[in-house]
């Protein structure tokens, strides 16, 4: 509990320190990290807690983002309308995709969620009146609060509050009866069924919750850059979210957040920082950030099977 509190104190103080140092770029980067932390946490609910390896989470993330963007171009930028709409659209998409996908198991589930996400991707690519392949710029961040969200520090605190709410929600959920049943189903579906739990309905509910939270993250990412593009829905995006969860720690409370922050920080560190000895060793290394990210990911898979959260808590695989 103390560690959690310390974490949030650091997160809350961060923009004040950056403001004092006149370095607002990092506040914006931190908001982006927290938004991806919400998205990865939402995937962790389905993947880690529910055991449903969804390779199509970008569909819900992107659907949320596009809902906000399309409503904004149509003149509705009030966040009390647009954001709940994004969550509902993502939840409905998750309900429809989950209802079909959850009839399959294992690798086939991975692939069918991927297939549905690709369908959603191509549907948005074909929406020519909403940007098509080029994406859609928003007129500005959502309105509806007494404060202006165009200010990066205000925006950061709003994102932080929603991130905290998401984590708290996951914490409460994992300790509720619903969370216990979900984990029981992950551990042994046949037994859970035999005890008398409606397994399919529990899994579907978990999948829809997870999709809805991803939709919220999508609504935030659309506001973050005031721009959405189909790349938010591409399968590489689904893969990246999955990588964040695996990197951070599957089925752990902080796993998604840790993975998202670590991956984005690593990418930023390599592409935007000049490391002198590395520059001498390999000129233009900054153009090849993917190489270093790949090597680090490989090292983590081989050396830390439980992800970063497992490494931090010092647990070893039995």
């Amino acid at each position: 509990m103390k560690r959690v509190l310390a974490c949030f104190v650091v997160l809350a103080a961060f923009p004040l320190v950056m403001q004092a140092m006149d370095n607002l770029f990092y506040v914006s980067l931190a908001s982006r990290m927290l938004i991806y932390a919400i998205a990865a946490t939402s995937l962790n609910l389905a993947l880690g807690y529910g055991g449903m390896v969804s390779f199509g989470h970008a569909a819900f993330f992107g659907a949320g983002a596009y809902t906000v963007a399309i409503l904004a171009t149509e003149g509705i930028s009030n966040l009390w309308l647009a954001w709940p709409a994004a969550v509902v659209v993502a939840a409905v998409a998750a309900l429809m995709i989950g209802a079909v996908s959850l009839r399959t198991r294992g690798v086939y589930f991975i692939m069918i969620t991927l297939a549905f996400a690709q369908m959603v991707y191509y549907i948005f690519v074909s929406l020519k009146e909403y940007g098509g392949e080029d994406g859609l710029p928003l007129p500005g961040r959502s309105s509806g609060l007494p404060l202006s969200l165009a200010d990066d520090v205000t925006w950061y605190y709003l994102v932080l509050a929603l991130f905290a709410a998401t984590l708290y929600g996951l914490y409460r959920l994992s300790r509720s009866r619903f969370g216990r049943v979900i984990e029981a189903i992950r551990e042994n579906e046949v037994r859970a069924e035999a005890i008398g739990f409606p397994v399919y309905r529990y899994k579907l509910a978990c999948f829809v919750l997870s999709g809805a939270a991803a939709g919220l993250a999508g609504a935030l990412i659309a506001n973050q850059a005031s721009y959405v593009s189909p790349s938010l829905l591409h399968w590489i995006q689904s893969g990246t979210l999955m990588i964040m969860v695996i990197l951070g720690g599957v089925g752990t409370l902080w796993g998604g957040a840790l993975g998202a922050i670590a991956l984005l920080a690593l990418e930023h560190l390599i592409s935007d920082y000049q490391i002198d000895w590395l520059e001498r060793l390999a000129p233009n290394y900054q153009d090849h950030a993917g190489l270093a990210v790949g090597v680090v990911l490989l090292a983590i898979v081989l050396a830390a099977p439980q992800g970063l959260a497992g490494m931090l808590s010092g647990k070893r695989r039995a």
């Binding site: 198991r105 690709q118 690519v125 020519k128 590489i236 190489l291 990911l297």
Partner: protein, 306 residues
């Protein structure tokens, strides 16, 4: 006229499907025997195409470069298997996804460092650049006919290898029940290195044959990888026959969807809407096909595991 168009699109679909089969065959065996998700399969396709383009430039001949590129890519595949993938067999699917995703990132950057960011040019052999006239009066690119011929030949060879030889029997045994094959004394590890190298060579063949038609560029493996996964899931994981049927289905549905859906919509929709909805629905079509197949046959069309 529409008969000729139909014939042409069928041939295009067949050609695309056979190339998908080359990719899917290796993927489905790796998946079926070692229960290993290998996202890096598309990277081998890319590496094969790059090696082919370079060797064709260096030797000045498509036909000398082809076997060299296949051998080199098979070597790359074998090294990848021996150094990295071997460590991942015992791990869960998630670890495999993470590790092979990392391999994609690394392979893309290495290719970019070695060959630069510009796409490479790979020309079809000069004797095959013109069209030929098929019975019925259809003008068809002779190079595309060659691709169809090579695809059919490889499919037959693979069928012979898998169905009629001892090695093929071991592969089938491994795919249908790995533990039992191990218990019966099959050296699965060595078999798998060989299967992996073969899969890499097939990737290179697909990359080399498609190179003159599509662009040889970084990231070319990623989209086709997803199609290859769709193919093996439709066909049933671990089944070569399923991969062939799935690849032809996907190739023909995708190609004819792209050709005919805009025309079809044009009949009863305003033209600007038809030109937008047609390609979109065509892209969605194969995923729809996969979802429908999985809904009715959750194990694919030809499940390898009994």
């Amino acid at each position: 006229m529409s008969g000729l168009l139909f014939l042409e699109q069928s041939l295009n679909g067949l050609q695309f499907g056979l190339m998908l089969f080359l990719l899917a065959a290796g993927l489905t065996l790796v998946f079926g025997i070692m229960d290993m998700i290998n996202l890096a399969h598309g990277s081998l396709y890319m590496i094969g195409a790059y090696l082919m383009a370079t060797l064709a430039q260096a030797t000045g001949s498509f036909w000398i470069a082809l076997p060299l590129a296949l051998a080199a890519t098979a070597l790359v595949g074998a090294i990848l298997e021996l150094t990295l993938l071997r460590r991942l067999y015992g791990r869960d699917h998630l670890a495999q996804v993470l590790a092979t995703f990392a391999v994609i990132l690394i392979a893309n950057e290495v290719v970019r460092i070695v060959w630069g960011p510009q796409p490479l040019l790979l020309n079809a052999p000069p004797s095959l650049t013109g069209p030929v006239t098929l019975p019925g009066g259809l003008q068809y690119a002779s190079y595309r006919l060659l691709i169809i011929g090579v695809g059919i030949l490889v499919a037959l060879l693979l069928y012979f290898l898998i169905a009629k030889t001892r090695v093929g029997m071991l592969v089938r045994a491994g795919a249908s029940n790995r533990e039992m094959a191990l218990a019966m004394g099959v050296d699965i590890r060595r078999l798998f290195t060989a299967v992996f190298a073969l899969g890499a060579a097939l990737c290179a063949l697909a990359g080399a044959m498609l190179g003159p038609i599509l662009a040889v560029q970084v990231g070319m493996g990623e989209n086709i990888l997803i199609l290859a996964f769709v193919v093996i899931v439709i066909g049933g994981i671990g089944s070569i026959r399923g991969a062939l049927v799935g690849a032809l289905l996907v190739g023909i549905v995708d190609t004819s969807g792209r050709a005919f859906l805009p025309l079809f919509f044009g009949v009863f929709l305003p033209p600007q809407f038809a030109s937008a909805a047609g390609p979109a629905l065509a892209s969605v079509l194969i995923y729809l096909l996969m979802a429908v197949v999985l809904f009715f046959r959750p194990q694919g069309l030809f499940p390898a595991r009994g």
